[in-house]
């Protein structure tokens, strides 16, 4: 695996300025041409890991023994060099789509411009390409939606715009932060199928940050579990139900089920020693 791995992270720690505690502490993992899920508590550092990989943390101290992406040592790259990596070779679908779009520009135009940033072509070609992408992510009536402003599109449309922009750039590594949480199940499956195609056919590496346990269990190959800045468990996705860490066990128990009892849901009784990882399973 390590010979072909796309990403190799050793002991990554992140501390935001003005705080007294690491938001991410000694996190290590590798990523091959696979779908890696990251699950964890709200505030446990999942998005921070993604931003650290893209070096998008100007107000934090980031340290690591190693942060390698393909042939690049990310730790030593300058901001100038990162400009050639970000978006083009490594792309992050941000958790707050509407916040990542320019509020005063039509959404379709922003997709077309994203394409023109990476490939030489005329404005008309970029528009065609953008419209085709919106269609690919199942936006109804792309011609109408193309001309809307960010506040005029729905939550799920915003998520699909982020995915369309990522697809246009054709990256080798995609970090998707809650990419499908605002999509109805039918459209969600179609979008997951597109991401799946990128892994299977183009051999990209995909990191899927998600709270959706059904998605992670069935769509990902491996899962990392984060709790309070620490990576506490790592297991094959199909083994999720056999997780051993008390946080992961608690998560599984807290999930509402169709046809469930409707009694109050199980909640966690968090313990200080939960930051300790369980031994990896063979």
């Amino acid at each position: 695996m390590s010979a072909t791995s796309i990403l190799d992270v050793r002991n990554l720690s992140v501390r935001y300025n003005g705080t007294t505690c690491d938001a991410v502490k000694d996190v290590s993992f590798t990523l091959g041409r696979e779908r890696l899920g990251i699950v964890g508590e709200s505030g446990s550092g999942k998005s921070t890991i993604g931003r650290a990989l893209l070096k998008l943390l100007p107000t934090a101290k980031v340290i690591a023994d190693k942060m390698r992406f393909e042939e690049l040592d990310l730790l030593s790259l300058s901001e100038r060099q990162m400009l050639d990596v970000r978006g083009k070779r490594m792309s992050m679908i941000l958790q707050d789509p509407k916040f990542s779009l320019n509020p005063i520009q039509r959404v379709g135009h922003q997709v077309a411009e994203a394409y023109r940033r990476h490939f030489r072509c005329t404005k008309a070609e970029a528009r065609e390409k953008a419209l085709a992408m919106l269609d690919a992510v199942k936006i109804n009536d792309p011609m109408r939606v193309y001309d809307l402003y960010p506040h005029e599109i729905s939550g799920g449309m915003g998520q699909r715009f982020m995915i369309a922009m990522m697809l246009l750039a054709d990256p080798d590594l995609v970090i998707a932060d809650e990419p499908t949480s605002a999509l109805d199940v039918t459209v969600r499956l179609q979008v997951l199928d597109i991401l799946d195609g990128l892994v299977r056919e183009r051999g990209i590496g995909l990191i899927m940050i998600s709270h959706d346990l059904n998605l992670v269990r069935n769509f990902c190959d491996r899962v990392l579990i984060m709790y309070s800045g620490h990576m506490v468990e790592s297991l094959a996705a199909r083994e999720l139900d056999n997780a051993r860490h008390p946080y992961t066990r608690g998560l599984l128990a807290a999930q509402p089920r169709i046809g469930g009892s409707r009694k109050p849901l199980a909640v966690l009784d968090r313990k200080d020693d939960w930051i300790n990882a369980v031994e990896p399973t063979a």
Partner: protein, 252 residues
Amino acid sequence: MKRVDIRNLSITFGTGPAAARVLPDVSFSVEAGECFGLVGESGSGKSTVLRCISMLTDIWSGKVTIGGTNVRDLAPLARSREIQMVFQDPYGSLHPRQSVRTVLSEPLKIHKLGDREARMSKAITDVGLPLSFLDRFPHQLSGGQRQRVAIARALILEPTVLLLDEPTSALDVSVQAEILNLLQKLREDRGFTYVMVSHDLAVVDHMCARFAVMQHGEVTEILPREAISGNGATHPYARELIAASLAYERAL
């Protein structure tokens, strides 16, 4: 406890050839003290329905009443005591330069409510955040922490009707469980009425007695929660959506 009644709600955005009739004619009623679910296709108009009820947009036609009072007859101040909304996208709904303390204390000041510190502490701990977060700004919070601040802000005025747009989709299921339990308890103790948008039919089944399925701006069918586990829908889209959700829960 107040009932919410929506009659012939219709809205068109834009004019001329670009005009889009997003909601042609939506009607449904929510019983006093009920948690009513709104599910359906992405882009079908769920958030727009909530925005109309709360008068965030007023270019709609039709009639919306809360406890028999037309929402158009409520002055803004009275309306905000009656209805609060938790937005789908918490980043957009929190002012970037307002600390959490300001977000929570502003409504208390406007409504001249006393015990501000105590109310703020209760609101922030109810959503599972430490008191030290009162001094943070939105960009210093994680996605789910922002969402919880938005929920705290909506609850702090103790409105009779809460419009919840995907309130827990940004939360891990353990925090989701805490928030859903809190919402249930408030409904039982105080008789709050909820309209809740969700893509997760397991959450709808857990929380709602009834729910509407939307597609292309229309309510295709209103169903009792029992219709989920056995797929008791008759409209083709509603059937498809429930079938997909059942399959999704089992395997992708």
